[in-house]
Amino acid sequence: MTWSIGIDVGSVSAKGVIFNGEKWDYVVIPTGWMPRQAGKEVLDQLLRKADIGLDNVGIIVGTGYGRVNLDFTHKTFSEIVCHARGAHYLFPQTQGIIDIGGQDSKAIAIDSEGKVKDFILNDKCAAGTGRFLQVMAQVLGYEVSELGERCGTTEPVEIGSMCAVFAESEIIGLLAQGVSQERIVAGVLLSIARRVGTMATKLNLGPHVTFCGGVAQNQILQRFLKEQTGWEMEAPEKPQLVGALGAAIIGYELCGGGK
């Protein structure tokens, strides 16, 4: 049986998916300071999990910003096409993807075959990225993953600054004024949703959109994004795996898997 492996080394975590045309399994570990090592570790763990040797693997496809550091991959593809394929596989009816990653956020329009039609990435700064959330979480003393539970349905406070550095001081100011942490968290999430929502609506993705990237697990953010865009939004169970899954699927087709 032929297997293919997709490895997505992002700025925060390294993800791997092993695929045989029918089922898939995955591994996620922190990237740390050495993307190459993280990628290798993901590969080893995947092989152990599937209980196969490297000679059973037809192809290894790399993606994510760390893909250039991986010398054991056979091919590399950008995150954009990998996300498109992964999302299409999970939700065949999806017309677009919103991905909020650690370093950037993107919106991708895809056709009925899972091919990229158009895409857009946020500009240079941290606004609208996972990094923005991380900085804000730090100021408030939370983990990023906690942010979703921390605000419930409180009324979000208005955060005006788009720049991570200015937003940080704005939050400190709000705390000093006695604004509740819950309202601030909600405000931060709303500001991200606005920023990313505006970017995504430029591409007119809807109405069926897949929300991926680690941040997609955040229910509140998802709700805000839905409100901003007016689109249906679905997040896969493991939203951070979509890129690696897509890479594995592309690889599987490239090596003539199953045939």
Partner: protein, 381 residues
């Protein structure tokens, strides 16, 4: 494979610096100009050497930012920085500067620049539908004529101007012939090499030699095509580059496109063919003909800018383009906003996708650009 003749063009700018100095020593006047709106035939007809001053390098920007705001187009900052730091020999050796009121950044920068060099600023209307557009332009051409005549102590006669127009038209035809070789797939010459030739055009001091070299290049490229030698592989998507001027020294984005496996077929921008596509009508009065040609430049500073859309339409068809990359310099509002119209135009009428890259002259965004370009090329395949 790369044509051997390119070696001449590699040397053009460094050699031009030396020649500028020599020209000065021989008492030949030099007039610098900034953009494609400059009717350089007038400079030549006045017996002076026209040289391009539009700067596209990161290096002098820090110097410029001592005076200019940081949040300004890098082209304006770079040009200004070169001028005030004395590091650009072409500016240094220029006796006068010919400038024009195009975008706000340039306009206001010229006000500051006028303290450093004597200059004439042509008053270009920002409206393409101005009722007396031709008359207005004609007046500006006459203003420039008088300025040069007075300051250079010459006379620009109709005969002289006619001669120069003829020579420049020949040059334009020749350059367009060169560019059109890239209608072939795969392309015989890379986009960055084409840029070198077209950009080098504003730094040559020996026109005949330059023209001869372009001819040699054309012959060599034709031979390459006949022998099946090309500058890219047959599966390279064909890319047209448009947007703000991209000069030699800042081929960053074009370089990345080529590196990632795309073929930059040609450039529709001021550093590309924008100024070469239209000829000056040789049958008309030369001053009027100049005015008519230069008021048709499809620059985003002018509104509405329909000319750019129709030019792009023609180019994407003629050159069988797969995708368009629109390079927008940071803080260039006109091109940045127009990018939307261009994208929609290409999508609706030609089903060709456009990727906008917003950038400056620094190298800090190379990785980000690579990601976008790679994905774009994958999308085209």
């Amino acid at each position: 494979m790369r044509a051997k003749t390119m070696e001449y063009f590699d040397q053009l700018i460094p050699k031009g610096m030396v020649l500028a100095k020599e020209a000065k020593e021989q008492g030949k006047p030099v007039v610098g100009y900034y953009c494609v709106f400059s009717p350089i035939e007038l400079i030549e007809a006045a017996g002076a050497i026209p040289v391009g001053l539009c700067a596209t390098k990161q290096e002098p920007i820090a110097e410029a930012e001592k005076i200019l705001p940081r949040n300004l187009c890098p082209l304006v900052k770079s040009s200004f920085g070169f001028a005030i730091s004395g590091k650009c020999p072409f500016f240094h050796f220029s006796d006068f500067v010919l400038a024009e009121t195009t975008c706000d950044g340039k306009k206001k920068m010229y006000e500051l620049l006028s303290e450093h060099k004597p200059m004439i600023v042509l008053d270009i209307p920002n409206s393409a539908t101005l009722e007396d557009l031709n008359e207005h332009w004609l007046k500006q051409i006459y203003r420039a004529k008088e300025y040069f005549e007075k300051n250079l102590g010459t006379e620009i006669s109709r005969e002289k101007l006619r001669e120069v127009i003829k020579v420049y038209n020949e040059e334009r035809k020749l350059i367009m012939e060169l560019v059109s070789l890239n209608k072939h797939h795969p392309t015989p010459i890379t986009g960055t090499d084409l840029l070198k030739v077209l950009w080098g055009r504003s730094f040559q001091f020996n026109r005949q030699e330059f023209l001869d070299q372009v001819k040699t290049l054309i012959t060599e490229l034709k031979e390459m095509v006949a022998n099946g030698q090309f500058s890219c592989s047959p599966d390279s998507p064909r890319i047209l580059v448009t947007g703000c001027p991209t000069g030699v020294g800042q081929e960053k984005v074009m370089g990345i496109i080529q590196e990632c496996g795309g073929a930059v077929v040609l450039q529709e921008s001021c550093s590309g063919i924008k100024g070469f596509v239209d000829l000056v009508d040789e049958a008309k009065d030369p001053f009027l003909a100049l005015a008519e040609k230069y008021n048709k430049i499809p620059c985003a500073c002018v509104s509405p800018n329909k000319g750019r859309l129709s030019l792009l339409s023609k180019l994407v068809e003629d050159f069988r383009v797969d995708g368009v990359v629109d390079i927008t310099l940071q803080a260039c509002h006109t091109y940045n906003i127009e990018s939307y119209s261009v994208k929609e135009h290409l999508r609706k009428n030609h089903n060709i996708p456009l990727l906008q890259i917003e950038t400056d002259y620094s190298e800090s965004d190379t990785e980000q650009i690579k990601l976008r370009v790679e994905a774009f090329l994958e999308m085209l395949k």
